[in-house]
């Protein structure tokens, strides 16, 4: 499935410009080390963390996008670093649980 498709189907709000690419799945966690260990390249990462280290982790793991859940807004420097690192930053009013459910269902449909 493509990132543009994920953005459209989940009704996500892009916080900055982004580059469409293939999405390999998702990972939902707020613990950075957990994300570093278990996230995969091309994943969409769902988190409530909204500080600049989120962009660093997303860039290291080559994630397709970061989704700030629960309607959280990024701290100013997160936006800035995300732009610099080319990290796609999105937001949603959905909770992590709801967004993960929708993403999972979409992926099942796309794979099936």
């Amino acid at each position: 499935m493509r990132l543009a498709q994920v953005i459209e189907e989940l009704g996500l709000r892009p916080l900055a410009s982004f580059c469409d690419r293939e999405v390999t799945g998702g990972y939902a966690s707020d613990l950075l080390s957990d994300v570093l260990a278990n996230g995969r390249e091309g994943n969409v990462w769902l988190t409530i963390q909204a500080h600049r280290n989120v962009a660093a982790v997303a860039s290291l793991k080559d994630f397709a996008a970061v989704v700030l859940t629960g309607g959280r807004s990024p701290q100013d420097d997160l936006l800035e670093v995300a732009q610099q690192e080319g990290v796609c930053l999105l937001s949603t009013p959905l909770s992590t649980y709801e967004a993960a459910g929708k993403l999972y269902a979409l992926q099942q449909r796309a794979d099936g």
Binding site: A4, S33, L36, A37, N53, A56, L60
Partner: protein
């Protein structure tokens, strides 16, 4: 409105509308009605499928098209309960599926229709095409081409890098300050790109970056300050993270997944999961940690460029 206006020179998009066929862009899941369907039913279908018109079929033959405009007129003039057959547009402009998309673009420019029914060589309806379908197809195609170009570039870089991997060793050093979360990730990002520039496998570069990131954040969270050094040789990268204290009381316990001494504040930021050292260990081909309480901690990590160790995320 036109999808692609008058050409200012010859662009990739223009080339694509010549090479792509109508069938490459059309929607194949069709909603159709028959002349006997009532306009009221059509109204429901259009709303349900969020479309603005639908072809009318009789015995598998295309006999007309009914659009949102017909529905609005029907509501206006009070014939919404009547059948489609009486009010549909019978003069339907169709396009063949094997035509280049360029032809469809011309059709949309010439006629003011929102959608074109697509037919096969025998004249049977096989799809429907809107201007939005063309835009989506072009975007996907452009994106595919951009990815292909990026992939080729990476290959070329890797080839160029392979020649220099055996070049002189490179050393890098970064100082890391206690509590300086704002600069976490700088050393790891630089090391990752240095490795990529040398043509080192992306997975290996990523493991080195993750190990460095965890080492950086450890110094930021737990120490009074320190440094990260990296040496890139022909066949491996060596990362040395050292701090000036206070040192780890029980190293064995610190290596246990889930164990952390991080403060509540740090944990609230998503650090201190007790996975830092275990993550580093998982990424490393060789791993050594020395710590003396009161003096400091020294971490030594080596990652081979041809190694098969996984970071668990691959």
């Amino acid at each position: 409105m036109s999808v692609i206006g008058a050409a200012n020179g010859f662009s990739v998009a223009h080339e694509l509308v010549y090479t792509l066929k109508v069938r490459d862009a059309m929607q194949k899941d069709l909603v159709t009605v028959t002349p006997g369907t009532t306009l009221r039913e059509v109204q429901g279908l259009l709303r349900e499928h969020r479309i603005s018109g639908t072809p009318v079929l009789e015995n598998d033959l295309l006999v007309g098209i009914v659009s949102l405009e017909d529905i609005i007129n029907a509501l206006d003039h009070g014939h919404i309960e009547e059948s489609v057959g009486r009010w549909m547009t019978r003069e339907v402009v169709t396009i063949q599926e094997n035509m280049p998309l360029r032809r469809a673009v011309e059709f949309f420019q010439r006629y003011q229709y929102g959608r074109l029914p697509v037919v096969d060589a025998e004249g049977r309806l096989c799809g429907i095409l809107t201007q939005a379908d063309i835009v989506v197809r072009l975007m996907l195609e452009l994106n595919r081409m951009a990815e292909e170009a990026a992939r080729r570039e990476t290959e070329l870089l890797a080839q160029a890098g392979a020649a220099t991997t055996s070049g002189p060793a490179v050393t890098m050093e970064f100082s890391v300050n206690a509590g300086d979360f704002d600069n976490a990730g700088i050393a790891s990002a630089r090391i990752k790109s240095a490795l990529q520039e040398r043509g080192v496998d992306l997975k290996v570069a990523r493991r080195a970056a993750i190990a460095t990131y965890e080492a950086e954040t450890n110094i930021i969270i737990h120490s009074i300050g320190g440094s990260v050094k990296a040496q890139i040789d022909a066949d491996r990268i060596t990362i040395e993270a050292a701090d000036w204290g206070p040192g780890i009381e029980d190293v064995e316990r610190a290596l246990r997944p889930g164990f952390s001494t991080a403060s509540e504040l740090v944990r609230a930021m998503g650090f201190g999961a007790g996975m830092g050292l275990p993550n580093i260990q998982k990424c490393a081909d060789r791993f050594r940690i020395e710590s003396t309480p009161g003096t400091g901690t020294r971490l030594h990590v080596e990652i081979d460029f041809d190694s098969t160790t996984s970071d668990g995320g691959e």
